[in-house]
Subunit: 199 residues, 2 copies
């Protein structure tokens, strides 16, 4: 459609998640109109991320060192381990400043439709980490959807009988939300998980 280099860029951009043909075209023309320096920065950021970033050999989070900042932070407790699906979940939880333990990143969730089974996740690595008996509690912080629940159930079964407390993040109404906009499942969970109020 376009001449070589423009179409090549549109094609490459179109392979990115969430970037359709129209967005790819819009981005390509934005790039054409940008300073060469700005484009150079984006181009370098792309190759840098592949060259510099690896996965932490302990927890599987993204890291520029063999071990990530959280795994090497001596101020954090090793008694409690939070299991998440993706590195971005670590960022979300860190933002709450509620958790001072360690993480384990599975790299996804069990999803038979997409062909993701337990062996495709970092579950073996999790069991190896737990073998030394240092961890007292595992929080299963997988997503509150079908795949995340299935993964949590699978892991809870694997951890049974190891003398480790296993917990799951509470489901309920989002804080600041409106009850009338909550879906049935969330509202049902909020009822199940209701807590006594000391007035």
């Amino acid at each position: 459609m376009y001449e070589g280099a423009v179409q090549d860029l549109i094609d490459e951009l179109g392979r990115l998640p969430g970037v359709g043909p129209k967005s790819a075209q819009r981005i390509a023309f934005h790039v054409l109109a940008s300073d060469a320096e700005e484009v150079e920065r984006l181009s370098r950021a792309l190759t840098d991320v592949k060259a510099k970033v690896r996965f932490c050999e302990i927890c599987g989070n993204v890291s520029e060192q063999p071990q990530c900042r959280i795994c090497t932070d001596t101020r954090r407790t090793s008694d409690i381990l939070c299991v998440v699906e993706e590195p971005k979940d670590v960022v979300s939880i860190e933002r709450t400043r509620e958790f001072r333990g360690r993480y384990h990143v599975l790299g996804g969730a069990i999803n038979p439709i997409d062909g993701v089974g337990p062996d495709d996740l970092r579950i073996r690595e999790l069991m190896t980490r737990l073998a030394d008996g240092q961890v007292e509690e595992v929080i299963l912080a997988t997503d509150p959807n079908i795949e995340g629940e299935a993964t949590a159930t699978y892991l809870a079964r694997m951890l049974r009988g190891m003398g480790i407390a296993v917990s799951r993040l509470a489901s309920g109404l989002p804080v600041g939300g409106d009850l009338e906009y909550a879906d049935e499942v969330t509202l049902g969970r909020a009822f199940e998980g209701r807590r006594r109020v000391e007035a």
Copy 2:
């Protein structure tokens, strides 16, 4: 939030049009999970487009040569000139296969709010092209929105008394929309039904 290279990439991606923080994060993790070769291709496509692509010295369309493929195509008629805002509009019109004349790309539309006046568009170049009297009809194919209409009206006035037929794409294009989002059939009909403009 993330370590250096990942956050750098998220920041750079977030500057692209239509890419919010969540999309930038999703794309960054997609990049991390992609083959190095694939990322290299995207990175190269970005710098290539800046290095190789220029604007056709005749029509202002994107081109890897001093003159674009359409301007140098001897099978096309030079009697009829289609004036568009952006290179992507040329692609949309070419897709209809309704038009066998030449193009003139203005590089935008008159938009006082964004500070784009007639002098910021390739209008002088248009008048120079028309000076030799070869063009018999000018089709004003600017977008059917306020800025596009204003630009068409402005051009129609400038072209008055030059002995050139001036037309505007027929309505049928949704008013308030963008030309680039029109489907081939609608855009083709709009070509067929173009009307003479009395300025």
